[in-house]
């Protein structure tokens, strides 16, 4: 079985968020991690590899520095890493990103594509389903459990207060939730192997069946009007009173703010 996992290097929210003047994220200036949903997707692929035997190829689109996230994936046990990087791909929204990734994946053989549900920087949950649309394969989103049966996958899809069990013939695409599993740690030896391994680097020229008009900032229908960091709330008020007085104090405050 051949599995392609799409991962994204995202800002580590612990390190603070920085923006370019045009409102897009200044990715070069931020500490980064592997997007948590993607990491769960990778872990799911590695478990399928452990269970059934599979070749796991990890694909990412990003700055040259996004190579790190591929090395991390390989240190966890992925077999190959492909970095799609090109200046003309910069500033892409979900449409242009999914076009790019689909264009890259058209070069590969696959039975299963796994992406994270959504990235913690954009939170759109669009890229995975869009890739499946471009490639003309079924998608099962929000997977909380994945099993293989013959040439099909059986997936538990999370849904509000219940889950759905869906079966689809491969090839298909699955989007994974962080709750799907507890990703394994890299191994120390895996890290050194990952740095000795070759990472495949692809640019615009390697993308198959994609129009220029669908790539990069120019190919992105989304226009960012304004972006900003979270506005910090002011420090809370701390009052030390006995319980009865506290209740009165809180009720007065809530009344003053017209909450009650």
């Amino acid at each position: 079985m051949k599995i392609v996992v799409c991962v994204k290097q995202v800002p580590d929210t612990k390190g603070g968020v920085k923006f370019n003047p045009d409102g897009t994220l200044d990715r070069g200036a931020m500490l980064t991690i592997m997007n948590p949903d993607d990491k769960a997707g990778l872990e799911a692929a590695l478990r399928l590899k452990d269970q059934y035997g599979a070749e796991v190829t990890v694909v990412t689109m990003g700055l040259p520095k996004a190579e790190e996230v591929l090395r991390e994936a390989m240190a966890m046990g992925a077999d190959k890493g492909i970095l799609v990087t090109d200046r003309v791909l910069g500033g892409a929204d979900t449409w242009a990103t999914s076009q790019t990734l689909a264009g890259a994946i058209r070069n590969l053989e696959y039975d299963l594509i796994i992406t994270g549900r959504q990235a913690i920087d954009g939170d759109t949950a669009q890229v995975g389903p869009q890739i499946s649309e471009h490639l003309g394969i079924p998608v099962i989103s929000y997977a909380q459990k994945i099993q293989i049966e013959g040439d099909s996958v059986i997936v538990e899809r999370q849904y509000d207060d219940r889950y759905h069990v869906l079966k689809a013939k491969m090839p298909c695409l699955i989007t994974a939730l962080a709750e799907l599993n507890e990703p394994r740690y890299m191994t120390p030896g895996g890290i050194f192997d990952a740095y000795n391994a070759e990472i495949t680097v692809w640019g615009r020229a390697n993308l198959v069946d994609v129009e220029d008009s669908n790539l990069g900032l120019k190919g992105s229908p989304t226009q960012i009007a304004k972006a900003s960091d979270k506005v910090r709330k002011g420090a809370g008020e701390k009052v030390v009173l006995d319980p009865t007085e506290s209740v009165e104090y809180i009720i007065d405050k809530l009344k003053a703010k017209h909450v009650i």
Binding site: R71, E72, Y185, T187, P188, G189, G190
Partner: protein, 384 residues
């Protein structure tokens, strides 16, 4: 000369740090308080490959260099000194001598499961009358047919009751040297837990590293197969000393981690603790103390990393290891003591990590060669 770590080492540090924060730190206080060996953590470390970092892949290890191993012990010890020494004793004192002196059969039988973390290792050299004076061994081994028969006891053994495989030293004969003085011939052996005649004595109640299992090992007509002799007969003292050179890098890394951990906690604390209307970090006394602590920690790190690199690149690295251990241990004691002082009354309370770190740090000046022994090794090389 380049002081930059490679990207591989940086990523390995990220891994060790993440593991330590997530799996080890939440248990550190409980492990200290209850004195219960963190078996669950050891199993997780085994799965993550932390129990065979410098062992070649063909023997079940990770095939990394000693620097990667040192960084692992350092990061674990930043949050828990107990966990740091479990890895250090297992790797440096049990895997390493079998890797260096073991036969192919011994490596397959013992090193492979040790490096995979399926088994845990320990090392027994110290006896009631033979601490720094390792030549004062009383434990004896006599060859009877196809078996060595061990009699005697070992004390203060790290991973004592929790280990599965033990490297044990015993006297196998006495020779007279050229000057007519009698000298004990010491040999090394591999002993498995469960061997008839091998039992455990009392569990030591310690000041620090309290979750580490420290036991007396007792050998009463303990018969082990002849082929469990490690290295050549009579060469055990050299094996012990060479093993301790490596072990000192492990303990130096533990000491370094403790100092770094205490410094980190203190930096956080002085920013928050207010006295006289401002954070105590705003006082110059605090600032200067922190500056001294950080400078010494950095110097210790350079010595420890240099010794780890020397282990990979030099045949003999005794002096580098001794300097690293001497300095890192003394820095650990000094920095953790200052950390407690800067925490004031809270630093004396067990709820605060620095209290534990100060107790944990003391042992690094004592075990695997006291600071005095390290000074003997260093000065010996200067005056030879």
């Amino acid at each position: 000369m380049d002081f930059m770590l490679t990207k591989q080492h940086e990523m390995a540090r990220t891994l060790f740090k993440e593991f330590a924060e997530k799996e080890v730190k939440p248990l550190a206080q409980e492990v200290d308080e209850t004195e219960v060996f963190p078996r669950g953590t050891v199993e997780k470390m085994a799965k993550a490959g932390f129990l065979g970092i410098p062992v070649p892949k063909e023997y079940g290890g990770q095939g990394c260099d000693p620097l990667t191993y040192a960084m692992c012990v350092e990061e674990l010890s930043k949050v828990c000194g107990t966990t740091g020494v479990i890895v250090s004793a297992h790797t440096s004192l049990c895997c390493d001598p079998i890797m260096t002196y073991g036969t192919e059969e011994q490596k397959q039988k013992y090193l492979v499961p040790l490096a995979k973390g399926e088994k845990l290792g320990a090392f027994g050299l110290t006896e009631p009358g033979a601490g720094t004076d390792a030549q004062g061994q009383q434990t004896k081994a006599v060859l009877e047919g196809d078996e060595w028969v061990l009699n005697g006891s070992k004390i203060f053994i790290t991973n004592g009751k929790e280990a599965d495989v033990y490297v044990i030293f015993a006297v196998t004969g006495v020779v007279t040297d050229k000057k007519g003085r009698s000298k004990k011939m010491i040999s090394a052996f591999i002993v498995e837990k469960g061997t008839p005649g091998f039992t455990f004595g009392t569990k030591e109640k310690k000041m620090g590293i309290r979750g580490s299992s420290t036991y007396e090992l007792i050998f009463t007509d303990c018969r082990i197969p002849k082929e469990n002799l490690l290295g050549q007969e009579g060469k055990g003292f050299g094996i012990a000393m060479h093993t301790l050179d490596g072990g000192r890098i492990g303990i130096a890394s533990q000491a370094l981690g403790l100092a770094e951990g205490a410094l980190e906690r203190t930096i956080e604390y002085v920013k928050e603790r207010k006295q006289f209307g401002r954070a105590i970090g705003a006082f110059q006394n605090t600032q200067f103390q922190l500056a001294d602590m950080a400078t010494k920690v950095q110097a210790a790190q350079l010595l420890v990393y240099k010794a780890a690199v020397a282990k990979a690149t030099q045949k003999v690295y005794s002096v580098e290891a001794a300097m690293a251990k001497l300095y890192a241990a003394e820095v650990a004691m000094e920095v953790t003591t200052k950390a407690v002082q800067l925490h004031g009354g809270y630093g004396y309370i067990r709820e605060y990590d620095v209290e534990r770190m100060m107790r944990d740090a003391k042992i690094t000046e004592i075990y695997e060669g006291t600071s005095e022994v390290q000074r003997m090794v260093i000065s010996g090389s200067l005056l030879k």
